[in-house]
Amino acid sequence: MPVADFDVVLGLEVHAQLLTRSKIFCGCPTTFGAAPNAHTCPVCLALPGALPWLNREVVELAVRTGLALGCEIQPVSVFARKNYFYPDLPKGYQISQYERPICLGGAVEFTVGGEERRVRLTRIHMEEDAGKNLHDVAPDGSSGVDLNRAGVPLLEIVSEPELRSVDEAVEYLKALRAVLVALEVNDGNLEEGSFRCDANVSVKPRGRERLGQRCEIKNMNSFRFLRQAVEFEVRRQVEVIESGGKVEQETRLFDPDRGETRAMRSKEEAHDYRYFPEPDLPPVRVEPGLIAAARGALPELPRARARRYRERLGLPAADAALIGSDPEVARFFDAAVAAGGQGAEAARRIANWLNGDVARLANESGLPPRAWKLTPGALAELVGLIEAGTVGGPGAKQALEECFRTGASPAAVVREKGLSQVSDASAVEAVVERVLAASPAEVERYRAGNAKLLGFFVGQVMKEMKGKGNPALVNAAVKKKLGGP
């Protein structure tokens, strides 16, 4: 049976680092990139006698996330110890939540191949991150341990095994990430590991009831790797079943260099984590007042924003989704539309420029919207100049680059650089006459019936005018001077 005759069932566990200033149980900073172990204290080093003290902001961010995803916020939740030995885990246990997590239920909504999907969540819980192992730091092959990340707060967001393809998994992750970024609970950075994902993968022959054994895949720090890893794992499991074997439940590591998953040696032994309630932390109570305040402060979420752009401003779905998924870009867009105030047509033009040339300039410069010199008002002004016919496409593009670089006003740039479009009919006609006089042979052929040459004359005129001719006027003038075939 080919892979296509198998159903794929995926569940995702996302670990999202919370945007707090300090760690979950101590006052050490959470900032990235310090020298190893610079951000440590007795609590996160697990020195004897040190006691954890829960960061209130972690609870608030968990509640905010739970509300945005439609979870039931639990009035009382309990931290538990997950016991295992690993060099990056100084206490010998991770403080996590087990039987009583802070959020139950909820769902992530996304669109895949034009279809609306809603995948349910099992739970969301709070936990601490482990430290980081540094491989091959010493000549003899010894490893290093950096505990700066130990105790950084995480939310673990667990989906039901309801994803049916790798496309769904990718769209689910993108939608979830966009929500977390919009909520300002997570920075959405896969490469730096602040948004991580493990996938539970299993397959079954199409139509069968019973699922195969599932494998957990770790270490996929980009959407591309997630795709590669899951596709590899599905093929591998199908091959095992096809050859009469049984898929073993195990933890597998994705190796990006080889595009393969392999069983993790450190997880060979089936784990018995011996969870028990954390005696050093009392149960967490979430007061109704905290929930009400968090609910009141929820921002507009990406899908709601995209819907508003489609329905109120008439943006095409792809443009609306692109702008809606990034809160900073969305704020810029909203401000530009407000500054423009010329209605849906202007909004569409602003969206086009934003997703097109502005996005390109932003990529090239590596600047996020908050660091742009281009202001929303300036983009609106530029679109206004285009709509008024003051500047054409090429001139506008040139002006935008200047404005993006310097923060100047588009009107001033157009004026100073002489980018304004020639909309004076007599000036255009003078150029047309010169072009026609210079190409008598082409004029003959056009008049003999070769209508395609119209484009040639228009092109010549625009070239002569350095792209500043008003295209509609140029077209009309060329036709008029040639006389119709």
Partner: protein
């Protein structure tokens, strides 16, 4: 009474190597502890909310404000480390 097998499994999870005498000794001691605690099962607690902590939720002190506090710094953190490389703790080679 805890079986020798159970004691071995617990020891292996705790990364302890026990001699046969120790296995027998701890089987007895651990069983005695469990039996002692088991006396609690005689109480009728059907009307009592299960507790996970000596303090009920809400009786505990307020949560911590999200403020950064000075830690130890890498040098003091590493002061008692048996081995180091730069400011990283050095441990036997880790294979994932």
């Amino acid at each position: 009474m805890l079986s020798i097998e159970e004691v071995r499994r617990i020891a292996s999870l705790a990364r302890l190597t026990l001699s046969p005498e120790e296995e027998r000794l701890y089987a007895g001691q651990l069983s005695a502890i469990l039996d002692y605690v088991k006396q609690l099962e005689e109480l009728d607690v059907s009307g009592v909310e299960p507790m996970t902590h000596a303090l009920a939720a809400g009786e505990a002190p307020a949560l911590r404000a999200d403020q950064v506090r000075e830690g130890l710094g890498a040098e003091r953190a590493l002061a008692a480390a048996p081995a180091r490389e730069g400011t990283a703790f050095l441990v036997p080679r880790i294979i994932e």
